[in-house]
């Protein structure tokens, strides 16, 4: 177990190092810099700016300087949000995205598992078909269609929730639900398929033959095994949801970190993109390790080595 952890963490650190390096060089290889604007800067002023934001010197010098700053926990100044450090931007926006993503994660799992189990139990009945139809629909309709429709009905017509913003629990409901829906549908399909397979196995037949109640068969004996594919999917899912969503955050005006992935690149905000990539990669690596550990609890046949 300990050897497993050390190996995975070392591997994770190496991955992180490579990801940061690639991000840095890609950002610096793009045409134009943070100060390329419609109004051309006098050369002296551009020189001052590049010096202040440590973007002068050769790319190799910049890379070495950046890596040494990152190692000391300094993610540097954002070149777009001029007076803010990347650390400060992340400190303000990451908790927002994590809240939104955390709630969406719970909704996705709760709705997905329930729908999936119901569909499997009622295999080939109306229940199955309706659940799977809803699931396919939620995967097929993109966020940027569902979200405006949700706003139109729940906010503008019925006044149940606010149209946008981030000031109270009420502001969380619509964006979290819209964010969760496609993932809930995916989880439902995973659960259904895996559950159908498990329900046909010998030990389930044995349990039923012994007279165990159907609900207990499904929830206690079958679900424990059937949930494995969902568990392995939930690692990347959590990393994905917790680091925010460009579309949902824009439509609902949620002050999260999601927009920086795209806008950071468009603005050539090298260090902000670097910071966001570091957070995302770290979460992804971390959740994959957690998933592996969860596996051993759920299925004793799996050993970590």
């Amino acid at each position: 177990m300990l050897v497993f952890f050390i190996r995975r963490i070392l591997g994770g650190l190496l991955t992180l190092f490579i990801v940061i390096s690639i991000t840095f060089f890609l950002m610096r290889a793009m045409p134009g810099n943070a100060f390329t604007k419609e109004r051309k800067l006098p050369p002296a002023i551009e020189k001052n700016l590049l010096a202040k934001y440590k973007l002068d010197g050769t790319v190799w010098q910049q890379y070495r300087g950046y890596m040494s700053d990152v190692l000391q926990g300094d993610l540097r100044l954002s070149t777009k949000y001029r007076s803010r450090t990347v650390n400060e931007v992340l400190k303000q926006t990451l908790p927002v995205s994590m809240t939104l993503g955390g709630v969406a994660f719970l909704i996705a799992l709760a709705v997905g598992l329930t729908l999936g189990c119901l569909a499997a139990i009622g295999h080939k009945t109306m229940l199955d078909r309706v659940s799977m139809f809803v699931a396919v629909l939620s995967v097929a309709i993109p966020n940027f269609v569902i979200a405006p429709l949700a706003i139109l009905f729940f906010a503008l017509y019925w006044h149940i929730f606010p149209v946008a913003g981030w000031d109270s629990i009420r502001h969380v409901v619509l964006p979290a639900t819209c964010l969760a829906l496609p993932f809930a549908a995916y989880v439902a399909r995973l659960t259904r398929n895996s559950m159908l397979e498990v329900l046909n196995q010998d030990y389930i037949r044995t349990a039923r033959a012994k007279g165990v109640a159907e609900a207990r068969v499904v929830l206690k004996h079958a679900l424990k095994v059937a949930i494995l594919p969902v568990v392995s999917f939930s690692g990347p899912l959590a990393a994905n949801l917790l680091t925010g969503s460009l579309v949902i955050e824009q439509i609902f005006k949620v002050p999260g970190v999601g927009a920086f992935f795209v806008n950071g690149v468009l603005n050539r905000d090298t260090f902000l993109v670097g910071g966001v990539v570091i957070v995302y990669s770290t979460l992804l690596i971390l959740f994959n390790i957690i998933v592996d550990v969860l596996y051993t609890f759920l299925d004793r046949r799996i050993q970590l080595a």
């Binding site: 419609e38 006098p42 002023i45 007076s83 946008a164 629990i169 439509i251 005006k253 002050p255 468009l266």
Partner: protein, 526 residues
């Protein structure tokens, strides 16, 4: 395991979310466009940042709701006969938000900070009109005493300019020239001083809250000298660059005012234009095409004129932009101080065909395929598609559309790697110079490769001319060269500023060419 996760997430909702339902509501909420890049007067360059900074700080002069210059921290001033020397008399009751008096030394120190190379102020060149300021900013002149700004005592500031600059009082109201509280900067450092809790400002408002992509909250400054005339107590500026979200917030009543044209959903423009809460008026900005004059056949002025004449601008503003934009036959927008543009190239397809024939391409025969470069997906693309069609129909010219990501596009333009490029320019101050001086030989914003000794000479001559009438004639000749005789550019239309607000409830906003709407004068009836 799952249950544990549930509980911990529920707890974290309240801990992490930053939802502050306890905080007070603002009296007035407006949609301001994207998240401000900064609130430091020396650092900002954009219009949306300017709105907030002009509410937090006040320069020697200020603007009233019509955009006209009124006394700010300076209650009066004297200008020497040669137009190069200004003596500002500061009002004695001007205070910082911590109660300190605002003095002439504050201005001299703030301008020095803006010009110091290590401050890396992008708009430092707004101060280049002051004697020796440019050399000091470039690090060529280490002694600030040689720069033309001196505090004579607490209340008197003397400024010497390189040339008579008729728009200098306009510049004094510009954010780059606003004073900052040096003691606060020394205490908290260059980047931390503008954060809520640290910042000390001298304008009608102070900064209560600033959360990235969430809100900027302003609170009336009790020490402001004209506090009695500040209407609103607490104002929220909401950042969003998504037009649909902005419109949803406005129509659900969560915001009182929308202050940015880009926040109006383009698809709804036709339906919204007739409403009583839709307000639009021209402002100092021009949409135009640049020609790369270093590439044949665009190196021939006849070809450039032909293309300019073939563009049906009226169709473009009616079919594509649709917010009431005036067509542009010249480059300097109408309504600018002390100036009227000369007549330039309008829409005349017959003359266009004739010019193209003279250039050696009758009916477009032998004319190579040229590319039209643009960046933005919506308006610029729509305009480009129309122009492509017009040039093909009227002149027989085949145009290929080329879209590039914003910074790649800017890079292509700077390196003259294009044939025709969609462009726009917004004026910095109310004077034709802000539109015309960019096309001098080698100017950083020229980006056409065009070089004309006569034009360069006229711009220089205008800079030295004190007489308003004579200066106007000089600049008119320059604009004639630019938009008619040489045509390295083809103007298409002038921008309009668009606001959304209910005129029954919100007052104190006046349509003006600068699209400046100082928050100080806004009132709200409940």
């Amino acid at each position: 395991m799952m249950r544990l996760l549930h509980v911990s997430f529920l707890i974290s909702i309240c801990l992490l979310s930053g939802c502050d339902s306890k905080s007070q509501k603002a009296d007035f909420v407006f949609l301001n466009g994207a998240e401000p890049e900064s609130l430091d007067p020396a650092v900002i360059t954009g219009q949306l940042e300017g709105r907030l900074v002009s509410s937090l700080f006040e320069g020697l002069t200020a603007r009233d709701p019509t955009g006209s210059i009124v006394p700010g921290v300076a209650e009066r001033w004297e200008i020497s006969l040669d137009g190069r020397q200004y003596l500002f008399h500061l009002r004695s009751d001007a205070r910082w938000s911590n109660g300190d008096p605002v003095t002439a030394y504050d201005f001299a120190d703030s301008w020095k900070r803006t010009l110091l190379p290590q401050t890396a102020a992008e708009y430092a060149y707004q101060l280049y009109y002051i004697e020796n300021a440019e050399a000091f900013n470039a690090g060529k002149l280490p002694d600030f005493n040689q720069v033309g700004v001196h505090a004579l005592d607490d209340q008197r500031l003397e400024v010497r300019l390189t040339n008579p600059t008729p728009f200098f009082l306009d510049l004094c109201a510009f954010p780059t020239l606003m004073p900052v509280h040096m003691k606060t900067i020394q205490k908290y450092g260059e980047d931390e001083w503008i954060k809520p809790g640290h910042i000390v400002s001298n304008g009608p408002y102070t900064l209560e809250q600033w959360r990235i992509n969430q809100r900027v909250r302003l609170l009336a400054n009790p020490f402001y000298w004209d506090r009695a005339n500040v209407g609103l107590n607490r104002i929220d500026a909401l950042p969003t660059d998504n037009a649909n979200t902005a419109f949803n917030l406005y129509s659900s009543g969560a915001a009182d005012l929308t202050l940015d044209k880009n926040l109006i959903p383009a698809m709804l423009l036709d339906a919204l234009r007739g409403r009583p809460d839709f307000h639009s008026s021209p402002f100092l900005g021009t949409y135009f095409y640049r020609f790369n004059v270093t590439r044949p056949p665009l190196n021939n002025p006849l070809v450039r004129q032909a293309i300019a004449l073939a563009i049906d601008k009226k169709r473009i503003v009616e079919k594509v932009t649709r917010a009431g934009e005036p067509v542009a036959d010249h480059f300097v927008p109408p309504g600018i101080h002390n100036y009227e543009s000369p007549a330039c190239l309008g829409h005349n397809p017959d003359e266009a065909r004739e010019l193209l024939r003279k250039a050696g391409y009758p009916g477009g025969k032998g004319f190579p395929t040229i590319s039209l470069l643009y960046a933005d997906q919506s308006i610029a693309k729509g305009v480009a598609t129309e122009v492509q069609d017009m040039l093909h129909k009227e002149l027989g010219i085949t145009v290929q559309l080329a879209q590039q990501e914003w910074k790649v596009y800017l890079n292509s333009m700077s390196q003259l790697d294009y044939d025709i490029a969609a462009s726009s320019w917004l004026g910095d101050y109310n004077d034709p110079n802000t539109f015309l001086d960019m096309f001098v030989t080698g100017g950083g914003n020229n980006r056409t490769g065009w070089s004309n000794a006569r034009y360069d000479g006229l711009i220089q001559q205008a800079a030295k001319e004190v007489d308003v009438e004579k200066r106007k004639i000089i600049l008119q000749e320059a604009e004639g060269l630019l938009c008619r005789d040489e045509a390295p550019i083809a103007p298409v239309y002038f921008y309009v500023g668009v606001q959304f607000y209910d005129p029954q409830k919100i007052t104190g906003l006046v349509q003006n060419v600068l699209d400046e709407h100082p928050l100080k004068y806004i009132r709200k009836q409940n």
